[in-house]
């Protein structure tokens, strides 16, 4: 009898252990554990505003694309970002030390994936979430639809940047006869463009989009051509060697694209959860188990994210795209199904 009870106990314990090991083994020194224990996420803001990515509304509340991702992450970790998210304003120079010292848990601050950052600074990068493309803005009155239509015209570019070379290469390899004017100073190039000395202006597309809002002849008089001259891949950054925390970042981004690809929005996510279209979506929204626990999170974490900030398409539209004042076409930032470069990972 005693032995029977003992065996029973032992098997219960074993089953319990098995259940635990089915859950993710979050390393004790992982930032994920630190964040979950603390009960709030410290995410990067900006020292001021960085148009489209981090801005402050009339009540001092942060908004913008980067901030939305912070919110999504926090909602995924804690169910809601309300009371679980602190946006820490940091300057550009302060980013890396702030991450290493623990002032922030994660850098979501339009930061490009470069080799020196990856190797010398010991940073780890998620899959890129935004392509910072250099594109050409031109006067709508010229009727150009692609850079090739500016053949014979003038394009202005900042001197001494890698874009200066890229645009020259672009023109050469496409057999275009384009005069390239270089400017040392940002204001000069802006004035020259708006005065009509340049037919086109190559610049980081979000900067063009946020700048044309203040165009003297109105934002509608300027179009940003879809051709990508050069690009920088912006990724979420965490300290190197923290696989659990990196997994969460990658799957957070993947979830936002997965939701978009499957038409799951903040508006219909409840409906979707009640009637999932496919077993995959059922797993994704936490109806069937596994999607969250493997990461050390709750199974409905993706549902919580979508519920709060919506899918990647919604986030983009709200911060930078059609529903924002900047109206920057999504272009390469769209899903692969719509001509972009982004895609969700497989859920199995």
């Amino acid at each position: 009898m005693k032995i029977a009870i003992k065996t029973l106990l032992a098997s219960t314990v074993l089953t319990g252990l098995a259940a635990v090991s089915a859950q993710a083994q979050v390393a004790d020194n992982s930032r994920l554990k630190t964040v979950l224990d603390r009960g709030s996420l410290l995410c990067t803001g900006h020292n001021g505003s960085f148009l489209g990515f981090a801005e402050v509304d009339d009540k001092g509340v942060w908004k913008g694309l980067d901030v939305q991702l912070c919110k999504a992450l926090s909602a995924g970790l804690f169910g809601t970002s309300e009371g679980h998210l602190e946006i820490v304003p940091v300057s550009w120079a302060q980013r890396w030390p702030a991450l290493q010292s623990g002032d922030v848990d994660v850098i979501i601050k339009t930061s490009g994936w470069t080799q020196s950052r990856d190797t010398e600074l010991n940073l780890a990068f998620s899959t890129p979430y935004f392509i910072g493309a250099f594109q050409v803005m031109t006067h709508a009155s010229l009727g150009a639809e692609k850079v090739a239509d500016l053949d014979g015209g003038t394009i202005c570019v900042n001197a001494g940047t890698s874009v200066e070379r890229s645009i020259a290469n672009y023109a050469h390899s496409n057999g275009l006869d384009i005069e390239i004017l270089t400017y040392e100073n940002g204001d000069e190039i802006r004035n020259s463009y708006y005065e009509g000395r340049c037919d086109g202006w190559v610049e980081w597309a979000p900067a063009l989009a946020t700048g044309r809002v203040d165009a003297p002849d109105g934002a509608d008089a300027h179009v940003i051509l879809p051709d990508v001259i050069e690009l920088e891949a912006e990724a979420i950054i965490i300290p190197e060697g923290d696989a659990d925390w990196l997994d969460v970042q990658n799957w957070m981004l993947s979830s936002l694209w997965f939701a978009e690809l499957n038409g799951i929005t903040s508006a219909n996510v409840d409906e979707m959860k009640a009637n999932p279209d496919s077993p995959q979506i059922a797993t994704f929204l936490g109806v069937s188990p596994g999607y969250g626990t493997r990461l050390g999170l709750s199974d409905d974490w993706a549902y919580n994210m979508i519920k709060e900030v919506g899918n990647m398409g919604e986030i983009y539209a709200r911060s930078m795209g059609a529903d924002s004042p900047y109206k920057l076409d999504r272009g390469v930032n769209a899903l692969y199904t719509e001509g972009g470069v982004f895609y969700p990972l497989q859920i199995d």
Binding site: G45, D58, K59, G60, V88, V213, D214
Partner: protein, 358 residues
């Protein structure tokens, strides 16, 4: 003829005539400059007052009217400038705290408070009230961590904290530098010169960001306080040299006479040397205060929302990005109010103490 019946008038016109119109060259210069000044003033008044757009949320009206200033940005976004990221519902606390600091500063300019007991009590009470209001966590006030402080309140806090910590430090530094023990004097001189040769920006960056890697866990504290300590050191080094200048400008007979009277070191310093040294060093001291106030804006590099950063943030959104000029004018006015009252107070002190006259 009529001049004789109004004796006061000819003197005014006479003054004008002798000073500004005594000859063709002077007359031309006067007319040209007056016309220029009028033209500038007219343009300014036109822009700032006549064609300006006032009232909350008039962004569209502003965009339509680019001849005048768009004060609507201030009416709509002033809270961000004054309070930064301080939680919206709690901003009255920040406002009140700021007001308390200003009142304390004004009170400490009243001669009645100029005693070794009253002045410290006033400032400690002021700071405690400020801290309780801003930080909260007591008396049912929700807690607001230092990271979320911002705007004018933060600028005022940093400035007064730096001056209050820096001033006693500066006196210590100056006295140590004047020490009769050569190794103390030399070491202090070396420290002062080293810190003075570093840029303030580098010092702030080091204290805010690099120091946590070097300090033990318990000593790290909030980055705001680390920055204040770093800035105070910087302030103290400059101010110490100013005080030393004041001390060295005293005739050596002053100290010798005090010694002859049998006064001890602290009595000599406290009653004879420092009061006179401060009087002599008043103009550069006020200068140092003004510079310190303006340089608080550097804290933006370590992510603090001081009044300047807050202003840029307020205009940094698609709805208002066209109105940066108006925002900078407003910020300039804010700074002007503070710095100008500081200078006027300095001038009052100089008159009162007879600096440069006796």
């Amino acid at each position: 003829m009529s001049d004789t019946s109004f004796p006061a008038r000819p003197s005014v016109f006479g003054n004008l005539k002798t000073r500004y119109f005594n000859g063709p060259v002077n007359s031309t210069v006067t007319v040209v400059l007056a016309a220029l000044a009028l033209w500038v003033l007219y343009g300014l008044a036109n822009w700032a007052l006549v064609h300006a757009v006032w009232g909350v949320d008039q962004g569209d009206a502003c965009r339509a009217n680019r001849d005048g200033a768009c004060w609507s940005i201030i009416a709509t976004r002033w809270r961000i400038v004054l309070f930064g990221l301080y939680p919206f519902e709690e901003q009255w606390r920040s406002g009140l705290a700021c007001l308390i600091m200003v009142v304390v500063a004004v009170l400490s300019c009243v001669p009645w408070f100029w005693s070794a007991r009253r002045l410290p009590i006033l400032w400690v009470a002021g700071f405690t009230a400020f801290y309780i209001l801003m930080r909260g966590g007591f008396f049912g006030l929700p807690e607001v961590v230092e990271r979320n402080w911002g705007g004018l309140a933060l600028t005022v806090f940093i400035f007064s904290a730096v001056c209050l910590i820096g001033m006693p430090l500066a006196i210590c530094f100056a006295l140590l530098r004047q020490s009769s023990l050569p190794w103390v004097a030399r070491a202090m001189g070396l420290i002062i010169d080293t810190i003075r040769s570093l840029p303030l920006l580098a010092i702030m960056f080091t204290f805010a960001i690099v120091l946590p890697f070097a300090l033990p866990e318990w000593a790290i504290g909030e980055s705001l306080y680390r920055v204040i300590i770093g800035y105070s050191l910087f302030f103290a080094c400059y101010q110490a040299e100013i005080i030393r200048g004041g001390i060295q400008s005293l005739p050596s007979g002053q100290e010798e006479a005090a010694k002859a009277l049998g006064l001890g070191y602290w009595h000599r310093i406290g009653y004879i040397i420092l009061p006179q040294a401060f009087r002599n060093a008043l103009p550069p001291t006020i200068n140092q205060f003004v510079i310190t106030f303006k340089e608080t804006t550097l804290v933006t590099i370590i992510g603090f929302f001081d009044v300047m950063t807050s202003g840029r943030t307020a205009s940094g959104t698609a709805d208002w990005s066209f109105a940066t000029l108006e925002m900078y004018v407003f910020l300039a006015l804010l700074f002007f109010v503070f710095v100008f009252s500081l200078s006027r107070y300095g001038a009052y002190l100089e008159r009162r103490l007879g600096v440069g006259t006796r």
